[in-house]
Each structure stands twice: as structure tokens, then as C-alpha cells.
């Protein structure tokens, strides 16, 4: 592991990506402690404040401090996006590896189902799932996870097919190991590198997807300070105070760029040939 970190730090995108992601994760964990104001405290006298003075990023239509809301909302936005990506990736990885291992008709059936699901844009799929399950953060996480699963399954399968031909898998079959052991212990650890890379890039998508769902009113519900929701609410007051929409949008972009760069860096670091 330390070797991978060293290789990661050799590329500029790796250094910047890692720094941004560490910063975001720190804010997500310590954010509520660092918030200068109560994110839900209303003050009707100080609405639509521009940045400066007591309120570094200004205030919104109810006089709430935008900086505090962003810091508190980081946890909901970033950590839930990470959770959604993790769930989707794991499900996809297990399905893809199992499909490659079992082969034949099972493989055919799984991959054609994946094709069918991938024919739908992931936002549409997520919207469909949320509208079936009902609105709310937990369901949005689930929807994003399910929307990510087919793509991850396809990527994992292509790597797992190469691993499937290795003799250590044959040795395990010849030894009489069960399919579950072979998939989880023999094959999965050997397909993990491309999965990690894909995962870090997908976190950025998940944040945007999550923000989109909240923006459409299907994810987090008011008065939560989820970033997508903040953008959605600020839209109506754009002509009164453009800052209200700029800050959460910038925060989303910032995190997305961070994870994307980290993913690029990891792709190079985990590939020994570069």
C-alpha cells in the first residue's frame, strides 16, 4: 500500500486529487464542529447578505449562514455519495466476478440483463427507482447504487475473465472449493485494482447524481442542507442573491474534480506499466 501512495504522489493529478479528497473528507467529518453558526438558525433581518463580515459566504433567503450549511451538508452529500458508490461497486464486482466464474448460460443471462439496464441512462434509472421506492436520502443512495451496478459488473467481468483462466482458480476448482470461496477469496482480490480506479471516478458521478436527485426534489428533503437541495432552493432567489447558488454549486464541482483527479492518478499508480 505505501508503494501505491508513493506512485500516486509522483503524478500531478494524483497529488492534487489526493489533497482535494483529503480536504473534503476532513470537512465532511469535522465540518459541523467548524461551522461558525447554527445552520438552521433563522434571522429574518439578515436575509440575502452578500459574502463578507460575520457571514463569510453570505446568507440565504431565511437568513441562514451559507458557510455553516455547506459544512454541515458536506457530510450528507459526500459521505452518502461514497456509500452509494461503495454499495454499487461491491454489488457490481461480485456479480461480474461470479458471472465470469460461472460462465456459459449464466454468464449470458447476467450480461444480457446488464446490457438491458445499461441501455437506460443512469439518471433515468435512478429516477425510476426513487419514484418506486419513494423520496428520501436513503432511497436515493439505494437508487444510485443500483444504477451503478450494471456498469461495474461489466467492467469487473472483463477483468475477471482473465483471472478465471489462471491456474490458481483451476487449482481451487480441482481442490473442490465452493463457488462462493473461489469468487470472493481467489478471484475478487485479483480484480480489485481496476475496481478501485473506477470507484474513485464514480464517486464524482454519484455526488452529481445525488445532487441532481435532491435538486429534483427526490433526494434529501428540506430543510436539510444537502448541496443539491441548496442549489435547487437557491434557484428561485437567483436574481436577489446570486451567491446563494454559486457556493453550493462550486462545492459540488470542487468535490467532483477532486475525485476525478484522484481516479486518474490511481489509474496510473495501479498500472505498473506506466
Amino acid at each position: 500500500m505505501p508503494d501505491i501512495v508513493r506512485r500516486l504522489l509522483r503524478t500531478p493529478q494524483g497529488v492534487i486529487g489526493l489533497a482535494l479528497v483529503l480536504l473534503v473528507l476532513t470537512l465532511a467529518i469535522l465540518g459541523p464542529l467548524a461551522a461558525p453558526h447554527d445552520p438552521d438558525a433563522l434571522s429574518p433581518l439578515r436575509r440575502y447578505r452578500p459574502p463578507g463580515g460575520d457571514f463569510l459566504f453570505g446568507t440565504d433567503q431565511l437568513g441562514r449562514d451559507i458557510l455553516s450549511r455547506l459544512l454541515v451538508g458536506a457530510r450528507a452529500t459526500v459521505l452518502l455519495a461514497l456509500l452509494a458508490t461503495f454499495l454499487g461497486t461491491m454489488a457490481g464486482a461480485v456479480i461480474g466476478t461470479a458471472s465470469a466464474f460461472l460462465g456459459g448460460r449464466v454468464d449470458e443471462a447476467v450480461m444480457r440483463t446488464v446490457d438491458a439496464l445499461m441501455a437506460m441512462p443512469s439518471l433515468l434509472l435512478a429516477l425510476l427507482i426513487v419514484s418506486v421506492l419513494g423520496r428520501g436520502s436513503e432511497n436515493a443512495v439505494l437508487a444510485i447504487a443500483i444504477a451503478f451496478t450494471p456498469g461495474m459488473a461489466r467492467i469487473t467481468r472483463s477483468v475477471a475473465l482473465a483471472v478465471r483462466r489462471q491456474d490458481y482458480v483451476n487449482a481451487a476448482i480441482a481442490r473442490g472449493e465452493g463457488s462462493f470461496y473461489i469468487v470472493t477469496r481467489e478471484m475478487l482480490p485479483n480484480v480489485v485494482a481496476p475496481i478501485v480506479v473506477e470507484m474513485s471516478i464514480r464517486v464524482a458521478f454519484a455526488i452529481m447524481l445525488f445532487a441532481t436527485l435532491s435538486f429534483l426534489g427526490l433526494g434529501a428533503q428540506p430543510p436539510a442542507s444537502e448541496w443539491g437541495l441548496m442549489v435547487s432552493e437557491a434557484r428561485r432567489f437567483m436574481h436577489l442573491s446570486p451567491w446563494m447558488i454559486v457556493w453550493p454549486a462550486a462545492a459540488i464541482a470542487f468535490v467532483a474534480i477532486g475525485f476525478n483527479l484522484l481516479g486518474d492518478g490511481l489509474r496510473d499508480a495501479l498500472n505498473p506499466r506506466t
Partner: protein, 544 residues
């Protein structure tokens, strides 16, 4: 007379993260016109580094410390890259180990040689075409014109290596470096390539540096030989003297490690009575009919891996299976371990087995397999402890005994220190990895162990040690072996009986005693035995 190729006092380091690593130290050798000099060494000895140093194509982290490289008096180290590019291919050429990777897959075989002719000899396209065709015919390729239009994947390994040799000889260079040109080929094909090499070498008088790990091959073609060990030339001189009366311990060890069919390593006798395994008309077909072509009523193209093989193994017997690649020997191993489905009848310890799904827990425990490449057969993400404790947990009495002690005992049985349990496979050498794979196979106390080319990816000296280990384990455990190999000399040392396979069929089964006394009954067995190069110290070629 100045030698064509002269290396003197050459020292080479590679810069690694752990500091400079010495690859070659004070290497001096020379190759005269018309001479073949063999460089013999094990993997990691620096013999390939020497080849690349002469070709002036070293990796970026190479540091040349001292010494000179001269080609007919030209100082190669002093030449600028442009001059070198003109020199390579025209005055010095190289033949690589694996013809399937040394030819460009996107160019036709003809283009790959005409390019050399046009560039270095300044021939026009038409002249180059004609010259290439005559070169192809000269290296013994059938239908040269037709072959020139084909791509590398449309030619066999032997044909490709002939093409590579034709390219190397195309510009009549002063010196050619051969880097294990027959290692990736079949025994039969290798023999033909060696014959071709001898003919062309005698004809053109090119100075040849022949790099190999195989003492038997070198003893048959080289007039002088240099033994290289850990970057140093430990001994060099006329082949007859170096291999016949070696002065250095290392050379003696290498020679001792070459398998000699006369020397028996097993002294056990198989048990009489009912056979442990018996197969009748065992047939393996590859290629699955897809649902789609099934719907269209099309018949899928099947490949028969093994056809109607009938054989039996007694308890405690070592049955050697020999044959070229593609002869179906590994297919047989895959069928017996349930990795390939088969037709026909299989009986194991008195029980009939109809297919992979019918192989129960007992069968899986009693039949174990050791694969050819330990790199591929050990999971790179598992420690040796996990690799070894897995079969114990599945079949052993690990619940009662301490699993840690069981792993240590297994490691000890294959002569490895107990602290290897904490290592990952990539921290072990090739021989050590294969020992771990062997320990894993013996962990559940099997009745039959299938060894699929277990020694062919190992160095000669390591190979000898692994074979001795297997012979000892056989003696101690009484397990029967199915010993699959392409090396008939090796199998004659260890097996009780030998089964010869050719194109998926069993052509002959013969006891080793009968083979010694009467020789092979089948013509193919005789050809196979003749193809294996033997250590010929008495009649080495004369010094030119």
C-alpha cells in the same frame, strides 16, 4: 586475426530502488569468424543482459561501469544512435526466444523481411521480394511466396522461428546473437531449428553467440563455451574441456543437474492388484455449441483434445506421460481433475466416475494436481499460510491439530523454512514457489498426484532438486503420480511406465525396463527420443 565480436572487461549495473544492482561483472569473451560460442547460465545470471548490451539496447536504468564492446574493431559503445541503427540488422542481428512475440502481428511475414532488405541492402521492392522468397526457401519453408502473404498468427511456431532466422541472416551480418531460440518451441521443431542453425552457420560462417540454459544443446553446437553465474563468467574454454573436465564447482553442479536417463531416482515398486485409476476410451472435446448456432441447426466446430485414451495407474506407481505440446497430455490432466468434461469411463479406487459433477469430496481429496507455472497457480494476493492451510481446512484434521503447526510441517516436508508462511508468492523464487505448490498438493494426503510439466518453467539445477523432492515425497507417502512432461530423459529417471501421446491419442505404453532393454516399439516414440538433445561431451564440434 581480430575476432568479430569482442567483449572485454565489461561491467554493467542496473539502478534500482535498493541501489545499484550488478548484472555483469568483468565479462570478457570473443567470437571469431565462423565460430559458435555458447553462453550457458541460469535465469538471472545476466546472459540476456549481455545480449542487449552487445545490441546496444539496454533499459534506461542501466549503468555501464567499465569495459569495451567491439564489432570487427568498431567500438560499439562510442557509436552515436544513428550509426547504431544502420549497424543493427546489417552487421549484427539477433534471434529471440519466442517467435510469436518477436514478429510484428500487423505486418505480413514477407513485409517483415523485405523491409530489412530494402533498408539495409538498398534493394528495390521487386528485388527484395525475390530475395526474400529465396531466403524463405533457403531456411526450409514450404511455399515461400504463399507464406510471404501470411500474417504471423497464420503460421506455426516453427515456421515463425524460421522466418526470424531468415530475417537475421538476410543481410549476411558479421555476428548473430541467438537468445534461447528453441526454448519456446516443441522438441521436434526445436530439433529442426537446431539443424537449420547448424547448416546456415556452416554455410555463412557468421560469428554466433548462442545463449542458452540448456547444456545439452550448447554441447552439440558450440566450439567454445562460457559458463556465466551471477554476472560473472566462471569458466570458459573449448566445450570439450569445460563440459568434459570442468574446473569450477558451479559447472560441475550444472552438469550434475542435467537429467541422465540411466540414473534412476525412484526405487519403489508399484503395488500389484486392482488399479487405482483406470480410464477407458476417455475422450475430451473442446468447444461448446452456442445457443444461437444450435437454434440455426448449425453444428459447432469441436476440437478433440484427447481421443479414446485407455490407461491404468497402480497404487504407488509413477506413470510418465510424454508428448509434444498439443498432444493432449495436459487435456488428460484437466479431465482427471474435473476441469474439462469428458466422455468414456473412469474408475477411481473401485468407484465409477462419470464426470466433473460426479467427483465427490473423496475424489477431490485423493486426486491433486501441480501445475506448470507456479506464478499462475499460486494466488498472488494470498500468503503461503493461507495457500497451504486451505486444503487442510477442507480435508485435513486441522480442527483437532494446530493449523499453524500443520503448515510448518508441510513447509518442512518440501524443505522450506517455516517463516515462509508469512510471505507472498512474489517474494519467493521460482523453485520455492513450485515447492509451495507441491506442498499444497500433498496437504490432503492424496492417492494420486498429477504433475503437469512441473519442472519445465524452472532452471536446470532447480529442476533437479524439485525432481528429487518429488521422488522423496513419493517414497514417503506412497502416492501414485501421473507425471506429464515433454522431456523424455527426465521421465525415464523417475517413472515406472511411460505413456506416449501424439495428437490426442495414446500411441504406446511401455515400462522403463523394457524401454532400456528393447527400445521403443512405436516409431513416434523413437523419433521423440531422438529429438531430445543429449549432452555430448565426447564429440563436440571442433574449434574453428
Amino acid at each position: 586475426m581480430t575476432p568479430v565480436l569482442e567483449v572485454s572487461g565489461y561491467t554493467l549495473d542496473y539502478a534500482t530502488r535498493q541501489g545499484a544492482m550488478r548484472a555483469l561483472e568483468d565479462v570478457s569473451l570473443s567470437v571469431g569468424r565462423g565460430e559458435v560460442v555458447g553462453v550457458v547460465g541460469e535465469s538471472g545470471s545476466g546472459k540476456t543482459s549481455l545480449a542487449w548490451a552487445v545490441m546496444r539496447h539496454l533499459p534506461g536504468n542501466a549503468i555501464e561501469r567499465a569495459g569495451a564492446l567491439r564489432l570487427s574493431g568498431t567500438d560499439l559503445r562510442a557509436l552515436p544512435p544513428r550509426e547504431l541503427a544502420r549497424l543493427r540488422g546489417r552487421r549484427i542481428a539477433m534471434v529471440f526466444q519466442d517467435p510469436s512475440t518477436s514478429l510484428n502481428p500487423t505486418l505480413t511475414l514477407g513485409r517483415q523481411i523485405t523491409e530489412v532488405l530494402e533498408r539495409h541492402r538498398g534493394l528495390s521492392a521487386g528485388e527484395a521480394e525475390a530475395e526474400a522468397a529465396s531466403m524463405f526457401a533457403h531456411v526450409g519453408l514450404q511455399d515461400p511466396r504463399g507464406l510471404m502473404r501470411r500474417y504471423p498468427h497464420e503460421a506455426s511456431g516453427g515456421e515463425k522461428q524460421r522466418v526470424v532466422i531468415a530475417i537475421a541472416f538476410a543481410c549476411r551480418p558479421d555476428c548473430i546473437i541467438f537468445d534461447e531460440p528453441t526454448t519456446a518451441l516443441d522438441v521436434m521443431t526445436a530439433r529442426q531449428i537446431l539443424e537449420l542453425f547448424r547448416t546456415l552457420q556452416a554455410e555463412t560462417g557468421v560469428a554466433s553467440l548462442y545463449i542458452s540454459h540448456d547444456l545439452a544443446i550448447v554441447s552439440g553446437i558450440a566450439a567454445r563455451v562460457a559458463v556465466i553465474h551471477r554476472g560473472r563468467i566462471v569458466e570458459q574454454g573449448p566445450t570439450r574441456k569445460v563440459l568434459g573436465a570442468p574446473a569450477e564447482d558451479y559447472t560441475r553442479d550444472l552438469l550434475r543437474a542435467v537429467p541422465r536417463p540411466e540414473e534412476r531416482l525412484t526405487h519403489t515398486m508399484p503395488e500389484a492388484g486392482a488399479p487405482l485409476v483406470s480410464a477407458r476410451d476417455l475422450t475430451v472435446r473442446y468447444g461448446r455449441a452456442s445457443l444461437f448456432s444450435g437454434l440455426l441447426g448449425r453444428r459447432s466446430t469441436e476440437v478433440v483434445g484427447a481421443a479414446e485414451v485407455t490407461l491404468a495407474v497402480q497404487p504407488g506407481e509413477i506413470l510418465g506421460i510424454v508428448g509434444e505440446s498439443g498432444s493432449g497430455k495436459s487435456t488428460l490432466a484437466r479431465a482427471l481433475t474435473g476441469l474439462a468434461s469428458f466422455d468414456g469411463r473412469l474408475n477411481f479406487a473401485g468407484r465409477s466416475v462419470t464426470g466433473a459433477s460426479d467427483m465427490g469430496r473423496d475424489y477431490r481429496r485423493d486426486v491433486q494436481i501441480v501445475f506448470q507455472h507456479p506464478d499462475a497457480s499460486l494466488n498472488p494476493r494470498q500468503r503461503v499460510r493461507e495457500i497451504l492451510s486451505r486444503p487442510l481446512r477442507l480435508y485435513g484434521d486441522a480442527k483437532r491439530r494446530n493449523a499453524e503447526a500443520a503448515v510448518a510441517a508441510l513447509l518442512e516436508a518440501v524443505s522450506l523454512p517455516p517463516d515462509f508462511a508469512d510471505r507472498f508468492p512474489h517474494q519467493l523464487s521460482g523453485g520455492e514457489k513450485q515447492r509451495v505448490a507441491i506442498a499444497r498438493a500433498f496437504a490432503p494426503r492424496p492417492k494420486l498426484v498429477i504433475c503437469d510439466e512441473v519442472t519445465s518453467s524452472l532452471d536446470v539445477s532447480v529442476q533437479a532438486a524439485v525432481i528429487r523432492l518429488l521422488a522423496r515425497l513419493q517414497r514417503e507417502t506412497g502416492a501414485a503420480f501421473l507425471f506429464i512432461t515433454h522431456d523424455i530423459n527426465l521421465v525415464r529417471q523417475i517413472a515406472h511406465r511411460i505413456a506416449v501421446m501424439h495428437r490426442g491419442r495414446l500411441v504406446e505404453t511401455i515400462t522403463v525396463e523394457a524401454l532400456h532393454a528393447r527400445g521403443p516399439a512405436h516409431d513416434y516414440t523413437a523419433r521423440l527420443m531422438a529429438a531430445v538433445p543429449r549432452l555430448t561431451i565426447g564429440d563436440s564440434p571442433h574449434v574453428a
